[in-house]
C-alpha cells in the first residue's frame, strides 16, 4: 500500500496537516514516536488530578475569529466546548518589586481603555502600538484569508524592528513598555530579540479574545483523534521514524520506522525539530549550507514546571492566568537569575467534569538547559540520585515562589511534582528540552515549508510560530504549498 503523504510527528502541527490533506482526498499516514498522539497537549493525570500540560489558553477562538474558522475547517469545533476567559482580565500581570498590577483584558477597545486608565499621558504610544499590532496581525497569510496577502511583506517584517526598539521609539515609560512586552513569555523570545511583527502575531491573537476548552488539551486531542478516524488516516504510534527513504529523483519514496517496517509514500511532511530532520535524511539530501543553517538555529529558553494538586482553585486563577516578574526589565527573560526573581507564569486547568473539585495548577519559570546538562545522558526513570535531589530542591523553591505569589495556595497544596528541561526533552521529543522550540529572532533565518528535496515539506513551531495557533497556521501553510494556497484559502473562507 502506498500513501500519498506520510506526516512525521503527531503534535498539533502534524495532526492538523494530516486532517487537511485527508480532507482534500489524499491518502495519509501519521507517525508518532510517543505511545499516543499529542504527548504535550494531551496532558496527564496524577493521583486523580488532571494537569493541562500544553494547553493553557488560546487567542482568536471567538466566534468568527481566525482560529475558530480553522477549528471548524478541521472538523474539531462540534466536539469542543469553548470557555471564554474573563474579558476584563485574562491575565493578571504583576511586577513584584514595583508593586504594580494590571488585569490585562481582551478586545482592542477594552485594552485601550485599561491602558489609558493606567497610563493617562501615553495615549499616542498606546494607540500606535495597538494599531500596529492589529494591522500586522491582519496582514499575515492565513491569519488573513485574502489571497492578496500571500505575498505580503511577512518575511521582511520578521527582520525588524525588534519589539524593544519599537517601544523605545514610542515611549520612555518603563511600566508601559513592560506591560506591552510581558507576553514575550508566551513565545519565549525576549523583547530585544523578537521582531515586532512576530510578537504582534502572537500577542495580537490574545488581544482579540482568549478562550480555554472544557476538558483542556485532552478534549482537543480527543477531537483530533475522532477526526483522524473519520477521515481514515492511518496513525502509527510508539515508533519513531528512523529514516526517510529517497527515490533516485531525490523525492521521498517512503519512511522506515524504528522497528524496520516501511511505509511507502510519494511525499513527506516533517513536523519534528529541524535538527531531528537531519538525522532522518541522507547527507546528500541537502547541501552543506542548509545543514549548517539548521545546526546554527538558536533555541528558546527551557523551563522548570511545577505541577501542583490543589484542594481548591484559587479565585485569581479562575478563567484568568497569572504572569509575574520581579522588575520592569525583561531582557533575556532571566533564565539565569535566582529562581525566586525569575518571571513566573501560573495557570489552572478547566476540568471536563464540573464535579471535579481538585485543581491541577501549573507554575512555569524560565530555566537554562545547562542546569541539567550533567544528567543529560541518563534515561528517564533511571537517572542518578543527584538529579532527583536537584529536582526536589527546585520543586521546593518553586513552590515557595508560588505560595508567596498566590497566598490562597498556602495550606491547599496536596502534592507537587517538578519537570525540568530533561522532562520536556523526553516528553516532547525536542532534542533541547526548550519551551517553544527554535527561536524566532531578528537575524535568524528559520526554515521554510518548502525544502530543496522535492515533496519533502516542513511544518511546526520552528517554521511559523509556537502555540496552538502557530502550529495550526504552519499546517495550513504547508498544505497550501501542496493543495494550492488560493484553493485552500477559499475553502477556509466558508467558515469565516
Amino acid at each position: 500500500m502506498k500513501y500519498d503523504f506520510v506526516v512525521i510527528g503527531a503534535g498539533v502541527s502534524g495532526l492538523s496537516t494530516a486532517i487537511i490533506l485527508a480532507q482534500n482526498g489524499y491518502h495519509v499516514a501519521l507517525v508518532e514516536k510517543a505511545k499516543k498522539p499529542a504527548p504535550l497537549i494531551r496532558g496527564f493525570t496524577r493521583k486523580g488530578v488532571y494537569f493541562d500540560s500544553g494547553f493553557h489558553y488560546t487567542g482568536s477562538l471567538g466566534d468568527g475569529e481566525i482560529l475558530d474558522a480553522l477549528f471548524q475547517y478541521l472538523g474539531l469545533s462540534d466536539r469542543l466546548e469553548k470557555v471564554p476567559f474573563d474579558p476584563d482580565g485574562f491575565d493578571l500581570i504583576r511586577c513584584q518589586e514595583e508593586g504594580f498590577e494590571l488585569r490585562f483584558p481582551y478586545g482592542y477597545e477594552r485594552i485601550r481603555e485599561r491602558l489609558l486608565e493606567a497610563f493617562p499621558l501615553e495615549s499616542s504610544a498606546i494607540n500606535e502600538y495597538l494599531q500596529t499590532v492589529k494591522d500586522t496581525f491582519n496582514s499575515f497569510p492565513y491569519l488573513n484569508l485574502n489571497p492578496d496577502f500571500l505575498d505580503s511583506g511577512a518575511p521582511k517584517g520578521l527582520h525588524g524592528p525588534s519589539l524593544k526598539d519599537f517601544l523605545d521609539r514610542l515611549t520612555t515609560n518603563a511600566a508601559l513598555k513592560w506591560v506591552l512586552s510581558v507576553h514575550c513569555l508566551l513565545h519565549g523570545v525576549p523583547p530585544e530579540e523578537v521582531p515586532l511583527a512576530f510578537h504582534a502575531c502572537i500577542a495580537g491573537s490574545y488581544y482579540e479574545s482568549v478562550h480555554g476548552i472544557k476538558g483542556g488539551g485532552r478534549s482537543l486531542t480527543k477531537a483530533y483523534e475522532s477526526q483522524l478516524e473519520k477521515l481514515d488516516v492511518d496513525v502509527y504510534c510508539g515508533q519513531g521514524v528512523s529514516e526517510i527513504i529517497f527515490s533516485p529523483d531525490t523525492s521521498p519514496a517512503g519512511i522506515r520506522l524504528q522497528d524496520g517496517k516501511t511505509l511507502n509514500c510519494r511525499g513527506c511532511i516533517s513536523t519534528v525539530h529541524p535538527i531531528e530532520l537531519l538525522n532522518l535524511v541522507p547527507t546528500s539530501a541537502f547541501r552543506p549550507a542548509f545543514r549548517k543553517r539548521l545546526f546554527q538555529l538558536e533555541e528558546t529558553i527551557s523551563a522548570y514546571i511545577l505541577y501542583i494538586a490543589s484542594r481548591a482553585v484559587p479565585e485569581m486563577l479562575i478563567r484568568n492566568n497569572l504572569v509575574m516578574t520581579s522588575d520592569w526589565n525583561l531582557t533575556g527573560l532571566w533564565e539565569n537569575n535566582p529562581l525566586n526573581s525569575r518571571p513566573l507564569y501560573v495557570c489552572g486547568s478547566l476540568p471536563e467534569d464540573s464535579k471535579v473539585t481538585k485543581s491541577g495548577l501549573i507554575g512555569i519559570v524560565p530555566a537554562s538547559r545547562n542546569d541539567t546538562e550533567p544528567w543529560s545522558q541518563s534515561i528517564s526513570g533511571k537517572r542518578p540520585l543527584e538529579y532527583y535531589q536537584f529536582k526536589e530542591k527546585i520543586a521546593f523553591k518553586l513552590r515557595q515562589h508560588m505560595e508567596r505569589s498566590i497566598p490562597e495556595l498556602a495550606g491547599n497544596i496536596e502534592h507537587a511534582e517538578c519537570a525540568t528541561s530533561l522532562t520536556l526533552r523526553d516528553f516532547t521529543h525536542n532534542p533541547f528540552g526548550s519551551m517553544y522550540g527554535v527561536k524566532h529572532k531578528i537575524g535568524q533565518y528559520n526554515p521554510l515549508p518548502l525544502t530543496k528535496a522535492k515533496n519533502l515539506y516542513l511544518a511546526g513551531q520552528a517554521i511559523v510560530a509556537p502555540g496552538i495557533m502557530g502550529a495550526i497556521i504552519s499546517a495550513f501553510l504547508v498544505c497550501g504549498f501542496i493543495i494550492g494556497h488560493k484553493q485552500l484559502l477559499k475553502q477556509i473562507q466558508k467558515y469565516r
Binding site: 552543506p288 549550507a289 542548509f290 549548517k292 543553517r293 546554527q296 531578528i442 525544502t451 530543496k452
Partner: protein, 85 residues
Amino acid sequence: MTDQEIIGLINTSLAEEFELSSDSMKPEALIFDDLELDSLDIVDMVVVLENAFQFKIREDDSIQKIRALGDIHDFVINKKKELNN
C-alpha cells in the same frame, strides 16, 4: 582584507557550501541560470556570507539587485567598506 581576498573567500565559501566546482565561480556566472541555485538557496547564501564575513545582511536593498556572482563580490566589497567607515 583586500578586494581579491574578499572575492577569494566568497568563491571558496559558496563553492564549498553549495557543492559547486571552483571552475564555475566566474564573476559573470548567473546565480540562477549558471550556478543553478534557486530562490530557496538565497537565504542559505545570505547565511553563508554572514558567517564568512561576520556581518549581518538582513534586508539590504542592494541584495535584491544581485544577478551574477560578480554582483555578490561587489555587494560584499561595498558592505565591508561601509562597515570600515
